[in-house]
């Protein structure tokens, strides 16, 4: 990778922030090696952050972004077993010469998992936790807590248990906790990766306000660039080897280095990807769009593309057979007085060979429905039929031949000591002979690129490998129906895209795929059918294009994906019937 650092850094202060001569954060030739690793990631990274500046840190998975974030407040090397070379200075203090606790007055952190940041029993106690540790007087603690909670709109709920907040609410609480420390720099590491679209909106509404007010410098690691890009002053990119690749304005880096970023596997805003597709299709796109608004402007200058009928809608009669039939499915959860019905009589027919996405807000009953279909939970007898099989009556052996279920966290379903045994398990249940098992295991290892890992313990694989193995185990007994619960949750975009390509392949081979997901762009790009659920009922079930065009997503309380929003905002209604990136042009 050519090392190309864009124009010397000149902080833009478009929102009335005061420029300052000395940087707040200075990272100089920083490299980190985790205990037991041979490689340094990040490896020789230098950049500065000025007071009030918002910096987006990008890089493919494995580039060391999160490790770098941990180094910014001294967790590396003080709390994480890793070696730091080079220096990290915050407000002139070297991270190695002080403690994490001391640095917390300068740098505060917001992490990815909202559950793993909560320590106390009420919102107020939670926000007070940091200032209390700093030994501030009670009056000061309370004043800070109130200001921080009001800033994120949670003051009214201060006496509640954080467990009662939604994911988005808990991340807002984490931001309030960072604000209460009154540190000039806030580092956010994938703050929305575990959230549903509503939660992402909530978090970005708060972050947007913080940025408008100025006063805080922010270092943001984020894969959801559609929401983030509007807030960012500067983009710093680390390549796959952990080296600094680019450092400059969003314009200089995202537009100027777009080819290099694509090669690196860095995810780009949907609008930019759409612009690239338009260019590849031969359209005139002089300036690549970065936001949905800019994409709309670009599209308004073009002649609408006539959708390729075969690509948007599969011909009717293409899926004559029904793979999954659900009739009058009611499911209740909880015990005693807390028992409530979560699915209120679902009727559903999923065509064989379809790629169906079940979408809906949190608590709509998506996962419950999927688990009932796959026999993971046991619904009332006779309500579910998968290719002639009632999952409630099937034993593990028959079930494995009919429907494979991939859990949200792959580790939950691993039961054997090596990757090869893990795959062989499903076949041993079928009482196949040794030779046949070995042959099919070898084929599956080859298909998912896991040959080198065949003797390893499944828990020691990388995140992407674990995910592929879990799909392999669900498939190996030959199940024609594959059900996946949030397969892209908490993953970076590169891994997510890789997994989806695998699913697409399986679907093309004729398997019926059912996924529960929050990622609506994924739905638009991959799913043939969409089931939109709301409050335990099916709101809409139709082909993807029809659902996206009908506004049924909004009726179910969801927000259309960014591409669809940009398309709908165009002047010419001919654009409005498109929804997929592939509608705009080929991938280069």
């Amino acid at each position: 990778m050519p090392k190309l650092v864009c124009t010397p850094f000149r902080p833009p202060f478009p929102k009335g922030r005061m420029p300052s001569t000395s940087p707040l954060l200075r990272v100089t030739h920083a490299r980190v090696r985790h205990e037991g690793n041979a490689r340094h990631t990040p490896d020789d990274v230098s950049f500065e952050v000025a007071p009030g500046e918002v910096v987006l840190l990008l890089g493919p998975s494995g580039s060391g972004k999160s490790t770098l974030a941990l180094a910014l407040n001294g967790l590396v090397p003080h709390a994480v077993p890793a070696e730091l070379e080079g220096t990290v200075e915050v407000a002139g203090i070297r991270s190695t010469e002080t403690t994490v606790a001391e640095l917390s007055a300068q740098v505060s952190m917001v992490f990815q998992d909202p559950d793993a940041q909560i320590v106390t029993g009420t919102l107020l106690d939670e926000v007070c936790f940091g200032p209390e540790n700093l030994l501030l007087p009670v009056a000061e603690v309370l004043a800070r807590a109130e200001a921080a909670l009001r800033r994120v709109g949670l003051w009214e709920r201060r006496s509640e248990n954080p467990d009662r907040l939604s994911g988005g609410g808990r991340q807002r609480l984490a931001i309030a906790c960072a604000l209460a420390l009154r540190s000039p720099l806030i580092v956010l590491d994938e703050p929305t990766a575990n959230l549903d679209p509503a939660g992402i909106e909530e978090v970005y509404a708060v972050l947007g306000e913080l940025v408008r007010e100025g006063g805080h410098a922010i270092v943001l690691i984020e894969h959801n660039l559609d929401a983030a890009i509007a807030l960012v002053d500067r983009v710093v990119v680390i390549d796959g080897l952990g080296r600094l690749a680019f450092d400059g304005t969003p314009d200089a880096v995202l537009r100027g280095q777009v080819d290099a970023l694509m090669r690196m596997g860095v995810w780009l805003p949907t609008a930019t990807l759409a612009g690239l597709r338009l260019r590849a299709a031969g359209h005139e796109v002089p300036v690549l769009p970065l936001s949905p608004g800019e994409l709309t402007a670009v599209l308004n200058g073009l002649r609408p593309i006539v959708p390729d009928a075969s690509a948007v809608h599969r011909a009717p009669g293409h899926h004559p057979a029904i793979a999954v039939r659900v009739r009058g499915l009611r499911v209740s959860k909880g015990r005693g007085a807390a028992r409530t019905e979560v699915l209120h009589g679902i009727d559903l027919d999923l065509p064989a060979g379809s790629f169906t996405a079940i979408v809906g807000t949190n608590g709509a009953g998506k996962t419950t429905l999927l688990q009932a279909i796959a026999g993971v939970s046991l619904p009332p007898r006779g309500t579910v039929d998968v290719l002639g099989l009632d999952p409630t009556r099937a034993d593990a052996r028959t079930l494995a031949r009919t429907v494979g279920f991939v859990f949200q966290n792959p580790e939950h379903q691993f039961i054997r000591g090596t990757v090869a045994e893990e795959l062989a398990h499903g076949l041993q249940l079928q009482h196949l002979d040794r030779a046949a098992i070995d042959e099919r295991v070898d084929r599956m290892l080859d298909r998912f690129g896991l040959e080198a890992q065949r003797g390893e313990h499944p828990f020691l694989l990388s995140g992407g490998q674990k995910r592929r193995l879990s799909v392999g185990t669900a498939l190996i007994a030959g199940a024609p129906v594959l059900a996946l619960d949030e397969p892209t949750f908490g993953q970076d975009r590169e891994r997510a895209a890789h997994l989806l390509d695998i699913l697409k392949q399986l679907n093309d081979e004729g398997r019926t795929v059912v996924v529960v997901t929050h990622d609506l762009q994924l739905v638009a790009d991959y799913a043939s059918h969409v089931v939109a659920m709301q409050e335990g009922r099916v709101r809409t079930h139709d082909e993807t294009g029809a659902v996206l065009a009908s506004g049924a997503l909004e009726e179910a309380g969801l927000l259309a994906p960014p591409l669809v929003r940009a398309l709908r905002a165009t002047a010419d209604p001919a654009w409005h019937c498109l929804s997929r990136l592939s509608d705009l042009g080929p991938e280069r």
């Binding site: 320590v119 029993g121 009420t122 540790n133 501030l136 420390l181 007085a337 034993d395 079930l399 580790e411």
Partner: protein, 271 residues
């Protein structure tokens, strides 16, 4: 989840009559503690019963009891005590009294006597009394208050206390995780079959994924706590003071006196 009792919510004030809620958790432990220790060595059923009744009275008057707690105290506890009296009695080796009238039933050579039942009942009553005494604190204090009292009065290092509190949050999370793992393993046909051996294998299978996610979660929580200056100073600001007041001393001393009086009376009075 929302319907469950919130272990972290501030305990509402139940009024002056429900005085147990207004006492320092340490007083509610220190007061009954001598009695609980003494009960381990007590063979006198009258003393056991008196202490059990005292604890029960204090609970009924001084504590705000939920329906479930009342059910436990007045239905479940007597039932269990009766059951234990009988089963401990089966193991007791007590000869029938001289007249031979105390035999309740006999199976072959074995004779179940009133004396054996009395021995069993005393043992069961001792256990019941210890449970009731521990409930004085158990039913009327919250975990966070106990931790605060330990830190503020007994000077337990706050890093220990608050880490324990944070760990308490793991419990419902692990419960949920265990459910999911169980479902996953069942679907995959892990160690299917009835009987103790497959059951043991099944449960061993849950350990690895649960430990893996537990350790990872704990690491993340620790990093989040460190990032928020946990452990920066030897002490930290306390907004919730759990003072040890005159009434806590009074309660503790009164309880000690009552215990001593009971034992004295039992020793002096002829049976």
């Amino acid at each position: 989840m929302t319907a469950r009792l919130d272990p972290y919510a501030d305990a509402p004030d139940r009024g002056a009559l429900r005085f147990l809620h207004r006492l320092n958790p340490l007083a509610k432990i220190a007061g009954p503690l001598p009695a609980m220790i003494a009960l381990v060595f007590t063979r006198d059923p009258a003393v056991c019963a008196a202490l059990a009744v005292l604890a029960l009275l204090l609970l009924v008057v001084g504590a705000h009891l939920s329906g479930r707690a009342l059910l436990g105290l007045f239905v479940l506890l007597p039932l269990v005590t009766a059951l234990l009296s009988f089963s401990f009695g089966l193991w007791a080796d007590a000869a029938p009294d001289a007249t031979g009238s105390g035999i309740l039933f006999a199976v072959g050579d074995y004779r179940f006597t009133t004396a054996a039942l009395a021995v069993g009942a005393t043992t069961a009553l001792r256990l019941a009394a210890i449970v009731l005494l521990s409930l004085l604190a158990g039913l009327t204090s919250t975990g966070p208050d106990l931790v605060r009292a330990l830190v503020q009065q007994l000077h337990v290092p706050y890093r220990l206390g608050y880490t324990a509190l944070a760990a308490y949050r793991f419990v419902p999370r692990f419960g949920y995780e265990l459910d999911v793992i169980r479902q996953a393993h069942r679907v995959r046909g892990m160690a299917a079959g009835r009987g103790p051996l497959p059951a043991v294998r099944r449960h061993l299978g849950y350990v690895v994924p649960l430990l893996a996610s537990g350790i990872r979660h704990a690491e993340r929580v620790a990093l989040a706590m460190d990032s928020r200056a946990f452990g920066a100073h030897p002490t930290r600001t306390e907004r919730h003071l759990v003072p040890f007041r005159a009434r806590d001393c009074t309660f503790t001393l009164a309880f000690w006196l009552a215990t001593a009086a009971l034992y004295a009376a039992a020793a002096l009075l002829p049976h």
